[in-house]
């Protein structure tokens, strides 16, 4: 099970947001399962193509994912996944 953690910015839309555990092999599988716990959340993270939104970052442990189009980066057991807001503006 991977532990999935969220940026505080998402609490505006999901006030009860808390880290969750998800069984998955890839980041894509994790994002697609988010809606089970937080309905509609995947639309905040990826567009209708499944590509990561331009100003969102996902890290597996401390490494930013490389495949922003298909989110095919692997996730090992007991790894930490962070869904973060990229900084933009000043």
């Amino acid at each position: 099970m991977a532990s999935v953690h969220f940026t505080y910015a998402l609490r505006r839309f999901y006030p009860g947001l808390a880290s969750i555990e998800i069984e998955a092999d890839t980041v894509s599988e994790i994002v697609s399962q988010l809606d089970e716990s937080y309905p509609g959340m995947s639309d905040y993270i990826v567009d209708e193509r499944g590509a990561l939104r331009e100003h969102v970052n996902i890290f597996v442990n401390n490494t930013r994912i490389k495949d922003r189009q298909n989110l095919g980066d692997r996730v090992g057991k007991n790894e930490e996944v962070y869904i973060m807001q990229a900084l933009s503006g000043g």
Partner: protein, 359 residues
């Protein structure tokens, strides 16, 4: 009916104004801090619609069926899998720029216009993508972005006499008409001028900033265009340039049309496309009462020096003698004498993107 509710979409949220006697007062605000790209009052069922342009999280749609007391998020339109803007550039929703009720025969249904050029219609569970417009043979080679990266549908006009008859205005492509509820589309740009093209009279590639029809005679269409103001009296078959050669009514974004008089409209002029500032740094609203043959500029109550305000395309509205507009520097002005004199509602808003009355 008297206008007693005004919805104001700004770069920092939605403000709901109520009229208290002669004064507009903020009743409440919603979506605090979030850019509102478009706001719409559905006259058929009274729903309020808001499109939010989250910088990070994508475009979102919200609807209220109880005059703004409660809101629900509605899943935003999605471009179907495999839809391509051009080779190797998949289409995805970038901006929501227009709403329209789908017409008297289809209560509760709405159209949504988007960047990169997709038209959607609600189906009760989500939104259907209009493939006929997307597959129009002109799109790939002659539609371009204007101010935004890709073409955007900012105007949707449904004929109140026939819900199968509609128009869209696209920046940058022009006006398209359908008489079969979006199954097929015809170009309606004859008479327009695109000074930014090698051939200003090209069939497609025009930039109507906003397209409207006259409620009292839907065959009379108006548009504030990038290259002037144009009017059609034959349902879009051809357009006449009604810009004022000697006055300020030329370049701009917004236009509002009188709901009783097909010859009356208002525009909010700016200097030009290369200098997007109020003409002579003085704010005015121009009105025609004769179908564009002549224009009068009205300035009473509006700043006449060091004024940089411009009015975005969805930020000027008229209903009866009530006219309201919001500006890029956060000013909001109202007139109750058909635009002849003005009073400031406020000077301190964020950039105003869109307005609508909600009665």
């Amino acid at each position: 009916m008297a206008n007693d509710t005004l919805l104001v979409g700004t770069r920092k949220g939605l403000l709901v104004y109520k009229k208290d006697g002669e004064r507009w007062q903020v009743a409440h605000d919603e979506f605090f801090g979030i850019p509102v790209s478009m706001v719409y009052f559905d006259p058929q069922n009274g729903d309020w619609w808001v499109a939010l342009d989250h910088g990070h999280w994508g475009m979102k749609l919200h609807r209220s069926s109880d005059k703004g007391r409660n809101w629900e998020e509605v899943e935003a339109p999605k471009y179907p899998e495999g839809t391509m803007i051009k080779e190797e550039v998949p289409a995805s929703l970038r901006y929501i720029w227009a709403f329209s009720a789908a017409g008297n025969e289809f209560p509760g249904k709405i159209y949504i216009g988007t960047e990169p050029g997709g038209l959607f219609e609600s189906n009760g569970e989500g939104f259907d993508f209009n493939t006929a417009l997307w597959n129009h043979p002109s799109r790939r080679d002659h539609w371009t972005g204007g101010g935004r990266d890709y073409p955007g549908i900012h105007s949707i006009v449904v004929d109140p006499r026939d819900s199968n008859h509609l128009y869209v205005g696209i920046s940058v492509a022009g006006v398209f008409e359908s008489t079969d509820r979006g199954t097929s589309w015809q170009v309606r740009n004859k008479g327009l001028r695109a000074d930014f093209l090698p051939d200003p009279h090209a069939e497609v590639g025009h930039d109507p900033h906003l397209l409207l029809s006259s409620p009292s005679n839907p065959d009379v269409l108006w548009q504030q265009n990038h290259c002037g103001i144009f009017r059609s009296t034959n349902a879009g078959q051809s357009w006449d340039d009604i810009s004022d050669p000697d006055g300020p009514a030329n370049f701009g974004f917004a236009i509002a049309v009188d709901d009783q008089d097909e010859n009356r409209a208002w525009v909010a002029p700016a200097i030009s496309d290369v200098t997007r500032v109020a003409v002579d740094k003085a704010l005015c609203i121009c009105r025609t009462d004769d179908g564009g043959k002549t224009w009068k500029d009205f300035r009473s109550g509006l700043p006449q020096e060091q004024c940089y305000d411009i009015v975005y395309r969805h930020a000027l509205v008229a209903s009866g003698d009530e006219v309201v507009f919001g500006t890029t520097t956060g000013n909001l002005y109202a007139s109750n004498d058909a635009g002849e004199t003005w009073k400031a509602i406020t000077h301190n808003l964020a950039m105003v993107y869109c307005l609508c009355f909600a009665n």
